[in-house]
């Protein structure tokens, strides 16, 4: 995971798209929720977001 984060950081640097970093993080967290919520106990939490 750490190597992936490093790679993403390097990628943002090369692409000069630092503004994508917070979006990456938010979407990553949001996406992770979706992944975890599939058939897991996190499901009710995601419903409360809406």
């Amino acid at each position: 995971m750490i190597s992936l984060i490093k790679e993403i950081w390097k990628f943002l640097k090369v692409r000069k798209k630092y503004w994508l970093a917070p979006i990456f993080i938010i979407l990553f967290l949001f996406g992770s929720l979706i992944v975890l919520s599939q058939g897991s106990a996190v499901a009710p939490f995601i419903y409360t977001l809406f």
């Binding site: 992936l4 790679e7 692409r15 798209k17 979006i23 990456f24 979407l27 990553f28 979706i34 992944v35």
Partner: protein, 612 residues
């Protein structure tokens, strides 16, 4: 020795290829092993097969190239969702699990899987070129040109959907790009979806359907869906499409524009509207491709053109570029879709990054006829046939050719499994079903009883290269079946006034030429020229057939049924033979007749594969 393994996977058509010191040694698609059409999974079997064929271990491989940049693709996804938010949430919800579980960790995944073959595999051996660079490299480096303009057109890679580059000696530079969501590949796929065919698979059916229709909707498409400039650059009007952030290709506004809903499934009735729609999009694509080609010639003044990307499989458009004589010569990568990306990625590394010299042989590409897959010795074939309890005759090569040509003469559908398997979507006389093109019933027989597919689908001719001019208007090599041209005027049979009045599918039953089974309703044919140097045994068969009939042409269709990947092994070939109305099978020097096989070995093949 420097060995490079190229891999394409995780989207569609996964494949692997091996090049050693710049020579293309082998290439094969994973679907041929897993028997799942367009299989996108990690090409484990393909990689193992390549290594076994070349007597290599993974530790002997110096570099591994994956055909695209996953992070750049992820960036495109995120930015697209962001632009369309909150509209694309459903699609986002579907895409994210796959990305967060697998695709984002692609480097780790590849390393883990490759470590199963070589526990010391070093991830620093991995390279990730851009998707369209891989396509462009697959078109330029194997081409017979020292210098060429390279045009790639497909659905989408990372951001690019269309690119223009220049290749000179061992260098390839991408100069221009058109980015997602503007894509003629996706425009064609949108119409494919609208006509009820499967996206990424049914596009060639739309192309086959087009000659039955009239291009009534061309102006409607050009005036509403696409803003096409004189240089061939374009912008799609996203008001009509839903693919950027939705889960369908087109929206309601699109349907309202043409006045018909999306055709629900492949089993729904195909009407004249669908044929007219297919004809219209085909003409639009041709217009775009021609405009780009004219612009490229005018701007760069280079004599040769190389093409790759899924749209380059549109052989009707390719034929138009050729006939317009815009370029002195054109060359199209036979595995123009994503499978070919594996090859392009590997070649790109060898020439561009490692800066190796590129030797070009005039008029001779380095694809080896695209016969780059596995082959089977007579012992291996016999072992499989014995296991299958098949009844067979083991003959000499000459006897096998003689028997096969006689079967063809008798109007039988012949399974033909010889030598190395083809790389790319076309069967080129290695894994083919063959028939007599002079037979009026052959198209129907092959479509309905052998391939179990729609009756409108045309078949392609294989012809001895030396006889090409006498039978078709085409006047250049077309070894990969990627060029369409008309049948020679003298061989055409004029339609009567009543016949000319017929519409759509009704035209199918008219005998249009001396070789009706391979003459489409507009007198066109997707031609494969057969060359003694690249496929001597198929050349021999055509020569034997010509001796008997004076006709150097055979119907050549892929050895599979609808929805099935092309057969990969003798066992696959035998099963397909037993599951269809094929009457004769030649595998290596073994011939099998359906009548000699046990009834119990027959199986219901028709429903075995999902519709493609």
């Amino acid at each position: 020795m420097t060995a490079i393994l190229g891999i394409s996977a995780f989207y569609h058509d996964s494949a692997a290829c091996l090049i050693i010191d710049g020579e293309i040694i082998s290439a094969v698609q994973e679907e041929r092993f897993t028997r799942i059409k367009h299989d996108a999974s990690y090409p484990k079997n393909a990689i193992e097969s390549l290594l076994i064929q070349s007597n290599l271990n993974l530790s002997d491989i110096d570099f591994v190239v994956f055909y695209e940049k996953p992070l750049l693709k992820f960036e495109r996804l995120l930015e697209t969702y962001l632009v369309n938010a909150p509209k694309g949430f459903r699609s986002f919800r579907m895409a994210m699990p796959v990305w967060l579980r697998e695709k984002l960790f692609l480097k780790y995944q590849l390393t883990t899987k490759l470590k199963l073959l070589d526990k010391n595999f070093d991830e620093n051996k991995l390279y990730f070129p851009e998707h369209h660079f891989s396509h462009a490299a697959s078109a330029f480096y194997p081409s017979p040109f020292e210098e060429a303009v390279v045009l790639t057109l497909d659905g989408v890679g990372e951001w690019a959907t269309t690119t223009v580059g220049i290749g000179r000696a061992n260098k390839l530079e991408i100069l221009k790009e058109i980015h997602f969501p503007d894509s003629i590949g996706l425009l064609y796929s949108a119409i494919t979806y609208y006509l009820g065919f499967r996206v990424n698979s049914g596009e060639y059916k739309v192309m086959g359907l087009a000659p039955y229709g009239e291009s009534k909707y061309k102006d409607l498409i050009l005036n509403n869906l696409i803003d096409l400039k004189d240089d061939g650059s374009f912008k799609l009007n996203q008001e009509y499409f839903n693919y950027a952030a939705g889960t369908t290709m087109v929206n309601e506004k699109f349907c309202n524009l043409f006045g018909e809903p999306v055709r629900e499934s492949e089993n729904s009735l195909l009407t004249q509207f669908h044929m007219d729609m297919a004809a219209s999009i085909q003409e639009v694509i041709e217009e775009i491709v021609l405009k780009i080609s004219f612009y490229l010639k005018k701007t760069y003044q280079i004599e040769n053109l190389c093409l790759a990307g899924g749209v380059a499989l549109n052989c009707v458009a390719n034929g138009k570029i050729l006939r317009e004589k815009i370029f002195k010569d054109i060359w199209i990568q036979p595995a123009a879709g994503d499978a070919g990306g594996a090859l392009g990625g590997a070649l790109g590394l060898w020439y561009q990054e490692l800066n190796n010299e590129r030797v070009v042989l005039p008029k001779k590409d380095s694809m080896k006829g695209s016969y780059l897959g596995p082959k089977f010795s007579d012992q291996e074939i016999e072992r499989e046939l014995i296991n299958l309890k098949a009844n067979y005759d083991h003959l000499s090569e000459d006897q096998m050719i003689e028997k096969t040509s006689l079967a063809l003469l008798n109007g039988e559908a012949v399974g033909w499994f010889q030598g190395r398997m083809e790389f790319g979507p076309r069967a080129l006389g290695g894994r083919s079903i063959l028939g007599d093109p002079r037979s009026e019933q052959m198209q129907k027989l092959l479509n309905l009883k052998v391939k179990f597919r729609e009756s409108f689908r045309p078949f392609a001719p294989s012809i001895l290269r030396e006889d090409l001019n006498k039978w078709f208007k085409l006047n250049c090599d077309s070894p990969y079946m990627l060029l369409v041209d008309e049948i020679d005027e003298d061989l055409k049979l004029e339609m009567s006034i009543d016949q000319k009045k017929l519409f759509g599918i009704d035209k199918l039953n008219i005998k249009r030429s001396e070789i009706p089974a391979v003459t489409h309703v507009d007198y066109s044919a997707r031609i494969q020229t057969v060359h003694e140097e690249t496929n001597p045994i198929y050349h021999k068969l055509l020569t034997a057939f010509k001796k008997k009939t004076n006709c150097p042409v055979l119907v050549n269709t892929s050895f599979n049924v609808r929805g099935e990947p092309i057969v990969g092994s003798p066992s696959d070939a035998f099963k397909c033979f037993m599951g269809t109305d094929m009457e004769f099978l030649a595998i290596g020097n073994f011939v099998l007749r359906k009548d000699d096989q046990k009834e119990s070995l027959k199986e219901n093949y028709k429903d075995k594969y999902e519709l493609d």
